[in-house]
């Protein structure tokens, strides 16, 4: 999405430039390339600093070169795939439940004032509980480790979704409700035709945040009785001081997260009704 103002002003003319599609695609990659380059540069520089510090050189493995070497090793040996799959499964399952619970609850507390008042105190308490504090409960309450981990992910990921959704509902133009009632909308119509389309981009923004939170929680969650997954691999890498592997796993998580986020972005574009 481009600047509001410049798009409002110049969008019509931008279609007329003489660039071939390929060239314009390349030039649209300019910005991401700049971003990636800066990240790599900062990363490399961090590694360089550490490598040249007499006390800390042992940690210099997290620099880009060893990391990509380790990443290559992980991919080439195929060791990464089961790891990725099992974590992805947990994340997606957790997000699924986060959405299934979070969106309706968010709409409810955004729309119905009393629901909001009832839920406020319990939600404030629940959402501040660290996954590490939930762990004993998860261990006691769930039959399998996987379900305990998914529970931890849900307990962390559901809040951004609930809050974003509720915030979106509260920001809906009150006139839109009036007009709909006035046209005879039932509560169901209101939900399907007015509220859902109106808040879609907020829900997706919440899900985007939830994706990040889910990955963040995955690492402590995979302390629990599992022997595969990216969080487990990170714990393992730290245990063996293999900071190259650790950084490689972080890169993998970043790539997957980026993929999930891109899906959300696409959906936001799809459901965004603001004219650009």
């Amino acid at each position: 999405m481009s600047t509001k103002t410049s798009s409002a002003l110049n969008a019509p003319s931008s279609g007329f430039n003489g660039l071939s599609p390929l060239l314009s695609m390349l030039s649209s990659l300019r910005y991401p390339a700049l971003g990636i380059t800066s990240l790599l540069a900062a990363w490399w520089f961090g590694g360089y600093l550490v490598a040249n510090d007499p006390d800390m050189w042992a940690f210099a493995n997290f620099a880009p070169a060893p990391t990509f070497h380790a990443l290559y090793g992980l991919v080439a040996s195929g060791a990464i795939w089961p790891t990725v799959l099992s974590s992805l499964y947990r994340i997606l399952y957790g997000l699924f439940w986060g959405i299934v619970i979070g969106v309706p609850v968010g709409v409810l507390i955004g729309y119905v004032g009393s629901a909001m008042k009832i839920a406020n105190v319990p939600f404030q308490f629940l959402r501040m509980i660290s996954p590490l504090a939930w762990m004993p409960i998860a261990v006691l309450a769930f039959p399998t480790w996987d379900s305990a981990i998914i529970f931890l992910i849900v307990m962390a990921a559901v809040w951004p979704i609930i809050f974003s959704t509720a915030h979106g509902v509260r920001r809906i133009d009150p006139n839109w409700f009036k007009v709909a009632r006035n046209l005879g909308a039932s509560e169901l119509h209101m939900l399907r035709r007015i509220i859902m389309p109106a808040i879609m981009s907020d829900v997706l923004a919440g899900i985007r945040l939830a994706v990040g939170v889910a990955w963040v929680v995955l690492v402590p969650a995979e302390y629990l009785g599992v022997t595969s997954g990216l969080g487990y691999a990170i714990n393992d890498a730290r245990d063996t001081l293999s900071y190259d592997t650790l950084a490689a796993i972080v890169v993998v998580i970043g790539l997957i997260g980026y993929g999930l986020d891109s899906i959300c972005s696409l959906l936001i574009k799809r459901f965004n009704w603001h004219v650009e």
């Binding site: 839109w176 009036k178 006035n182 046209l183 005879g184 119509h189 035709r193 389309p197 603001h274 004219v275």
Partner: protein, 270 residues
């Protein structure tokens, strides 16, 4: 068929401590009657219309439709808002068809029905477009089609043609009452245009401001369609203009600076 409306001693304050915006409004409207409401900007016309639509509960008094007090909106008494408030994620057609969808019509049936109305308001070539790319007047016409489509018993129009050019406006000033007469719809139109009031209504209510009251009422007993140059039309216009002028000097006395030139102009116009 149309419904009767009854406004029973309505007084309204937007906050308990404020001066009343509307005061002791009392009026009855017959089924199928077409009533115009005129008054200065800010006198409370939209507020009163919101009450008739069940969108606002008066702080005193009540509003009845067919004798039943109303306290919530319904598709039976539809209001077209002063601001178009279209849904930006829908096309023109979808916006216009919304009331029919809510009433349980299938998408196809609803589309078919609104197509005729969209043709009438001159938007045949904009049906599939996003409402955000419409001009101000086009948006207003979508809102009009949307209100007409629900086929309500009571139709409340809040300055429905304010963004339209003289020709489009003039066409619709004829079409809309025709539709209402045909279907027996009770119509209330808020307008700031005295000619429009006379052209469209069976009677005209004049509101004063600070507080908003109904200060006079004029039946319009002219044949349809009404011509601006007819003598009856002109007489009524003069009479209304006098009434209207009275709302300012007599009752508020506040709007002095803007009312002074208005008087002189209005006189010359009359």
């Amino acid at each position: 068929m149309g419904a009767s409306l009854s406004i029973d001693y309505v007084t309204h304050r937007f906050s308990p401590s404020a001066e009343p915006t509307l005061k002791d409004i009392d009026a009855r409207i017959e089924p199928g009657q077409m009533t115009a409401l005129i008054g200065r900007s800010g006198c409370g016309k939209s507020t009163l219309l919101h009450m008739l639509a069940g969108l606002l509960i008066p702080s005193e008094g009540c509003v009845r439709v067919n004798g039943h007090q109303i306290s919530s909106p319904s598709a039976k008494w539809n209001m077209m808002f002063q601001k178009a408030s279209l849904y930006p994620w829908m096309t023109v057609q979808e916006n216009a068809a919304l009331g029919l969808l809510f009433a349980g019509h299938s998408k196809r049936e609803a589309t078919r029905q609104v197509d005729a109305l969209l043709d009438m308001v001159g938007l045949h070539d904009k049906k599939k477009e996003n409402v955000q790319s419409l001009s101000g007047g086009q948006q207003q016409r979508v809102a009009l089609a949307r209100s007409l489509a629900t086929n309500p018993e009571v139709l409340l129009l809040d300055e429905p043609f304010s963004a339209l050019d003289a020709f489009t406006r003039s066409a619709l000033q004829e079409e809309v009452p025709a539709i209402c007469r045909e279907r027996g719809i009770t119509m209330v139109i808020v307008t700031h245009d005295i000619d429009e009031a006379i052209t469209m209504a069976d009677r005209v209510l004049v509101m004063s401001q600070n507080p908003g009251r109904i200060v006079s009422e004029l039946p319009v007993k002219l044949p349809w369609p009404r011509r601006h140059m007819d003598v009856g039309f002109q007489t009524l216009r003069d009479e209304l203009m006098q009434q209207f002028k009275g709302t300012d000097t007599g009752l508020s006395g506040r709007d002095a600076q803007s009312s002074q030139p208005a008087d002189s102009k209005a006189e010359s116009a009359a």
